[in-house]
Symmetry: C2
Subunit: 724 residues, 2 copies
């Protein structure tokens, strides 16, 4: 039997029962869908006539009905037609039932974005498959764009498939060679790893070092990575693997097998090890393969957004791109604290009486301090002020998997909610709410309506939510279907209250902000805070646009002007691995409709000329032009303000420094612009001289070419104001 | 080491480092608390100088910090001082730190109950223990009443014990002999088993047969039973083991070891196998041992209520004992359906369009039918009408562990919520809401505020909630701390809306209705519905008062007048194992402030003379007198109406029938009463002639003695109206 299975397998590679091809609108991509001799659906993707993804298997393995609890880590890729249980088999024995091709071409306007109009143009192949042994149907839908492929599984309403549980999705990506990859370890509970650049064959060997400590983490597999995964072939082809529209489904990791150069999907389980509770009709997220001849093509791709549904919010007038400051870096650097007192060994909300507690004197979210931030925001034209640590419970919020950890409506004694509301309103400044949930999702949902109403009542149009620590209910994970469903519940409920959401430690985005543009930000990667926890890698911000940002904007919180954290708190020896000029650049290179100026007002007061760029830079764009884009090396982007004729350029580089020949040919020909150039100083260097910068002004046109020199760990930022 | 451990164990039985005794107020009970040679706290309970519970160990075993997931079924009782991990040890190595005794005597008035005043009288021993090896304290609090003992663990706020996770509570009940027990199998997900009467030594052997199928069940252990557990010694002592005030804690089972005649606590785990997430200061529920010389003493005990906190609801004016009918038995017998249509293979709320669906014609919760019930309720003086199956989703609500299964606010097209509300109000009838959750607890909590507000808006002052099926989140259980916390959340939130709760399939009650008297009912045992599913045992209602009802009232839904279910639906061959007269008796013997007349109006119309008793019987009492009480044989109770001088007597008997010498000496001497006696007919028999009854009237006084004859599976009911 075993030998026979193996024979079938061999035949499977060559004998094809059905095949169908599809071309991208520009003709450069070829998709071939086929059903192999075992009845397994497969696909193959070519670009300019050459393989990008070789013939790769599709399908899912279901949980056996009434099976015992699954072994979560039993994720062998070697399930084949001879070993899989019949009822659990959604991989083998399929036949073609129907197929349709179609073309779609539409231009839509995002509520906010990197450009004001986005073209959604693809050719589609829908294949309806029939599996006689289970009398089941499954649909595969492929959308081939000029920048790559998206495909998903669809499970139609049918007699023999209504409710089912996914044991594992078995989507393969068979690659052509030992590409270079920029990756972080697969993990069910954190995305906050530094990127490793390595050959695919080196992932396994480098995994141990790549898994650095985190407040909640569940690393998975020996060679399993997260998406968006950035790849580059030796021939200079850029490939990005991710997913789009991950809704009511578990987040995908990719597990690598060296012998076959194959990545296979590896979903995030719930606390029982199950990977998806499905009810037909339903669909999987889109699996995306963005492909380009340069890194710029990857950054310019809008495929992830295009594969999401159009906006479901009718009135979007209340969704406003926002630039903000916050009571935050003070605590991140340990200069002050989220908590209020040292009096209590633990907190029981509603029982612990803070009114009699002795303040420890380092609580930053006090009315007086917050008013200073409001003054600073008003003075410098910021839209809003975030305040963390305003509500009771921070004395023991972390590490206990505590159920009732916060109530989201009860301030500390020294935080005058109503007074601050009135003061901010009088200054024309909005407040940004902070809801740290401590990952206690049931507790958050129990308080959500009251918490959102509290925001509406007190002038908070946006919330930064946080999911630090292990998920409660105990045993569940940050990116399971159950928890993903929680994040989405919050987004949709927030929309009912006209609240914008910026969720930290929540699942990495997959373009859902197209459908729910009140999701104005996510963290979901290693952000600026790590610059105070030992530092990010110098090249970190040259990789994020190719990885984390493929799914949507990140609240990276740039703008650190004092890199030496010991200046904040003497025992903090961390140093932000960046020059000051590069911090300015990030407002352009790290696209987000929500941008923070993360440093404390005192530090900005020391560098008001440089701070001017942060004040000037928009947070919404008409157009974006990708000028340089090499992961791990350099990202240089020019963007045109959505509401004016002005352009902004940002460039961030790695530890080697970089020279940029910057042609301004994106400017409107015949127009004159005043350029304000924020560049690294002559001897600037992230390690030895990070605060050296120059500001120069000059008149330029579309014919101007600037020679820019970025220091190691540096970058530059340019404002280009069109003259009348 | 092993031998040394064994030696210590032997010594432990005899060498005691500290001992303290306590007497009950009446002096008949002696409690001895001691710390044995291993430093394990122990207790011993004597009644009238004889052991009830022999020296029994106390303490808990904690989850090791950062331990791997526990094996749920590894519940060996043989953890001893030599094998337990130090940090996990809350059983051994304790010393006395402090002790206090005190006396309490108070009479309080329940909002509703078996009597209008309850005396709470006990002597208390508080023992503060110190465990040097972990530098921890634990308190044991014993309350010795005239009817038995309650004790609990208390975990004070302290440096070395703040957050901890319980692996198992190790409370022992070492019994003196091979008593007779009335028990149901231990199970994490159902309480709906028939009782088995057996010797303790027979539990293990009879377990297999006792575990009958249920919609969700997780039987545990080989000789593990649920509480309240009723025991009787050969010397005629009655002992009841249960718990009181199970709040934010897992429900306890009792696991039996024959060799030592010992029951040990066995808590319900969450989906990860953990049995309690604790934060000091906190307490366990009370473990209760009610003891009496007769079964009547057990039924008369108010210990369970007394061990709960006083009422926390300030204004209780809206809490009203309620007699109701409902659109229910129709569906239970399968004559009609909860669902509306056969059109859909599955339902997605908000997507499935019922407005175009073809009704299958058997949907009972339609406006016309409901109005008939309202008419019937108004005509016969019932307070309220329950309607099940009114809301969308019943086509596939069960068996799929479906998350978004009901929204609790969207009626079927044929159910006119507002019209019914107005009609009922015009007739002076209240509506009772039905919230079947399908055990999807997150989904219920998400909709709870809107669902309760919907009730307030539409004239529903009470809700019957249901938890049929496996708990969602997947893997959790019906009686875990997590899920118990959910039920309590619903009760407390309902109180905010002035809503009374009657939760079915929820955790068995533990007297919480004292603190939250809006918890007016629970099912939490095998109810009348099983009479349509094959039948309850004939003696079932003679056991429930000693078991399920110890914790609080049950919505048993008596009043079935047509025992032959095939008269309802021809294919239903189930027969209610009862006579008609016994059905009347249950309104007295099965105490509840919420009583249903469960049969359909057409069946009551056939027996209006007997129905008169159901119309007359109160649902709230001044006083209760227990006349006969033998589990498995007979329960006869007299109760005095809370609002008049009238008395009511009920008696339910087993399959052997029973003769009762009924002395009416509980009546006020010197007063005359008209007795209306509803008795089994001469040849009545639950199996062959269940509907034979007699109604006789006679004048009686406190000196009257009635000779009552109950048929096999029969009983009687008497109304005693005081004459002016």
């Amino acid at each position: 039997m075993k030998r026979f299975g193996f024979l079938l397998f061999l035949l499977g590679l060559h004998e094809i029962s059905f095949a169908q091809t599809l071309k991208s609108p520009n003709g450069r991509f070829d998709l071939q869908f086929a059903i192999n001799a075992e009845g397994r659906p497969t696909y193959q993707l070519k670009f300019d006539g050459k393989d990008v993804v070789k013939t790769s298997g599709l399908g899912l393995e279901l949980k056996k009905e009434k099976a015992d609890k699954q072994e979560t880590f039993d994720n062998s890729q070697h399930t084949d037609a001879s070993t899989i249980d019949v009822k659990a088999d959604m991989m083998y024995g399929f036949q073609l039932k129907d197929q349709q091709t179609s073309t779609f071409d539409e231009t839509w306007k995002p509520v906010w974005g990197e450009e004001s109009e986005i073209r959604n143009h693809y050719n589609e192949l829908m294949v309806r498959l029939y599996q006689p042994k289970n009398d089941r149907e499954m649909v595969l839908r492929f959308r081939l764009f000029d920048d790559g492929l998206g495909f998903r599984y669809e499970f139609p309403d049918q007699k023999n498939l209504t409710y089912f549980t996914i044991k594992e999705e078995r989507t393969q990506f068979v690659l052509t060679d030992d590409h270079t990859a920029w990756w972080i370890p697969g993990d069910y509970d954190t995305q906050e790893y530094s990127f490793t650049e390595s050959r695919l064959s080196e992932i396994r060997g480098k995994m141990q070092d790549a898994i650095t400590p985190n407040s909640s983490q569940t690393p998975v597999g020996k060679a399993c990575v997260q998406t968006a995964l950035m790849l580059k072939t030796d021939a200079g082809l850029y490939i990005n693997l991710h997913e789009a529209a991950c809704l009511n489904y578990a987040t995908m990791h990719l597990n690598y097998t060296e012998s076959t150069k194959t990545f296979e999907s590896w979903l995030t389980p719930d606390g029982q090890g199950d990977k998806g509770w499905m009810q037909t009709p339903c669909v999987s997220p889109w699996r995306t393969i963005i492909v380009g001849r340069s890194g710029k093509d990857i950054l310019a791709s809008r495929m992830t957004l295009n594969l999401n549904e159009p906006c479901k919010i009718t009135d979007t007038s209340w969704i406003k791109p926002t630039k903000y400051i916050g009571v935050w870096w003070d605590m991140i650097t340990n200069r002050s604290h989220w908590s209020y007192t040292d009096d209590f060994s633990s907190i029981k909300l509603g029982e612990t009486d803070y009114s009699k507690a002795k303040p420890h004197g380092r609580h930053a979210a006090n009315t007086e301090n917050v008013k200073k931030y409001i003054d600073f925001a008003a003075k410098h034209g910021f839209d809003a002020v975030l305040v963390e640590g305003w509500n009771q419970g921070w004395e023991d919020w972390f590490g206990h998997e505590k159920d009732f950890v916060f109530d989201f409506v009860t301030p500390y004694p020294d935080f005058d909610v109503e007074g601050i509301h009135k003061y901010a309103a009088s200054k024309g400044v909005k407040m940004i709410m902070h809801h740290e949930t401590s990952a206690s999702t049931r507790n958050y949902e129990r308080h959500l309506d009251k918490a959102y109403q509290f925001m509406v009542d007190h002038g908070y149009p946006a919330v930064k939510s946080g999911y630090v620590g292990n998920i409660v209910p105990h045993g569940d994970h940050h990116y399971s279907q159950w928890t993903n469903n929680h994040y989405q519940y919050c987004i949709e409920k927030a929309a009912d209250y006209h609240i914008m959401v910026n969720a930290h430690e929540a699942v990495r985005p997959t373009g859902i902000c197209r459908t729910y543009p009140n999701l104005i930000g996510n963290e979901s990667a290693r952000g600026t805070e790590y610059e105070a926890f030992g530092g990010n890698t110098v090249e970190h911000t040259t990789i994020l646009p190719f990885t984390r940002l493929i799914g949507g904007p990140m609240d990276y919180t740039p703008g650190i002007f004092e890199m030496d954290c010991s200046k904040m708190q003497k025992d903090n020896h961390s140093k932000a691995r960046t020059t000051l000029a590069r911090q300015l650049a990030l407002y352009v290179t790290m696209y987000s409709p929500l941008q923070m100026a993360a440093d404390i007002p005192e530090n900005y007061d020391r560098f008001l000329d440089a701070f001017q760029f942060i004040k000037d830079v928009p947070v919404d764009w008409q157009k974006s032009v990708y000028l340089e884009a090499e992961p791990g090396q350099v990202v240089t982007i020019a963007r045109k303000d959505k509401n004016s004729e002005n352009w902004y350029v940002g460039s961030t580089v790695n530890g080697a420094g970089h020279n940029t020949r910057l042609s301004l040919d994106f400017l409107t020909p015949g127009k004159k612009y005043e350029a304000v150039i924020y560049a690294d100083g002559k001897n600037a260097d992230w390690e030895r001289n990070p605060q050296s910068y120059t500001i120069t002004k000059k008149s330029v046109t579309s014919k101007t070419v600037l020679k820019m020199k970025s220091a190691p760990g540096g970058g530059f930022a340019i404002q280009l104001k069109q003259k009348n």
